[in-house]
Amino acid sequence: MFAKLNHMALASDQYALNARFYEALFGLRGAKNYRPARACVVSDGRVGMNIIPRREGRCSGLDHFGFEVEDIELAVDRMKKFDPSLSAIKRPPVRPFAAYSAHDPDCNIFDLSQRNIGFQKDVYAEEIERTERHFSHFALRTKSAERCAEFYSEVFELQPLNKKFDDDNYYLTDGNMTLAILQWKMEDFADMDPQRLGPDHIGIRVECIEKVMADLDDLTGQNPIMRARPLGYGMEGKARLGLFRKCPLGEGQTTDIEGTYIDLTEEPGPSGTNA
């Protein structure tokens, strides 16, 4: 594939604790040569997730994602061809992953890196064995879902997956990860606070959802800080959970310690395998 979705980032006030949560519950691995003053980075062996300290002026939660591409110049050229108003900027060198950051037609932000470009750090530079529980999808909820799907398909050559005829979302794959582009509609938020456009949830493929939930219960028993946020409480909680459950890529739902939505699936990946 021309591009791989191999990076995700979330901003957190409890970034170090949250990283430990992902390590403890899902068996994700941290970098051997980590940089303690910056973000905590965990990986499933193919996709890295940077849990970054939330700075002033920022919200906590899912922040952006990133692609590793064969040729950054070609990717940026394709972006400009798709829509000349789209921009990409070079990033400060402290970033372990990104050479550039850019945005899609709805201003969803993503990083760009080039395969074997040489400056990757942390989990992006290390060989890590694939973990049994690993990332399956990254979901955006956005206003121009169809146009964004065209953008990611044309620029990054992601392949569309089949969907139900009445499903107005789009699912694109790089062969490993699926980018779910969910249609943002004001009417979906009738019984809760409207959520702004942007990243919505991450998906993790597991061997058994029931086992994950039992592990979570055990984890919270061992360490009460390592707990998921309650889902589905009250009228608004039920509405939020109902919307979350509409993503057809997951069959079980939970959160990390700061409330980031995690969609769990036992289904095989786009290549038909669980590995």
Partner: protein
Amino acid sequence: MDHFGIQVDDLEATLAKMSEKYPHCEYLKRPSTRPFAAISANDPDGNVFDLTQAKGDNIKDVYSHNDWEQDRTICHVGIRTMHAEACAEFYMDMFGLTASNLPIEGAYGVTDGRMSLLLLPWSIKDYANTGIVGPGMDYIGFKVENLEKFKEDVQGIADANPLIAPSPVGSGPEGAARLEMLERTSLGSWHTADPDGVLLDIVT
């Protein structure tokens, strides 16, 4: 920061006009538990705002007794958005807000006479040396009676209770770049943040 709200004289007429002139701007009725909002809606760029009618039945909390005066007041909110000009036209046309001159390149100010929306053009290029924040509400503006007195009070609060001290602003090269961007695209002569990191633009 999440959203803001506008009070109108006639909610029904407002919604009818919005449906007719801006069919891509959707709205929906809110649960009755909201102390302010009767309706939530979005502008042409997807920025979410609440709508309520003056003297509506659902107005509760501070919205039902907001008739006092004080020296320090909220005076504006900065919103970074992709199509600032189109959004400014929307708010002027829909809510009768008037244009106000702004000394910020590419920005559009609209005001109800007391409170202003500063619609700032969002560009990824503004974030070259700092973490990128997507479009949306960016900062709150406060008008204070005396900046030095205000700064003294902020320090006094931080000294008395560090848990409600401002979150640091401008630390390190990325923080400095973020602060430079805030200074360049706001009206205030001093910038700080609340304990949770929400940016504040202080004007006198």
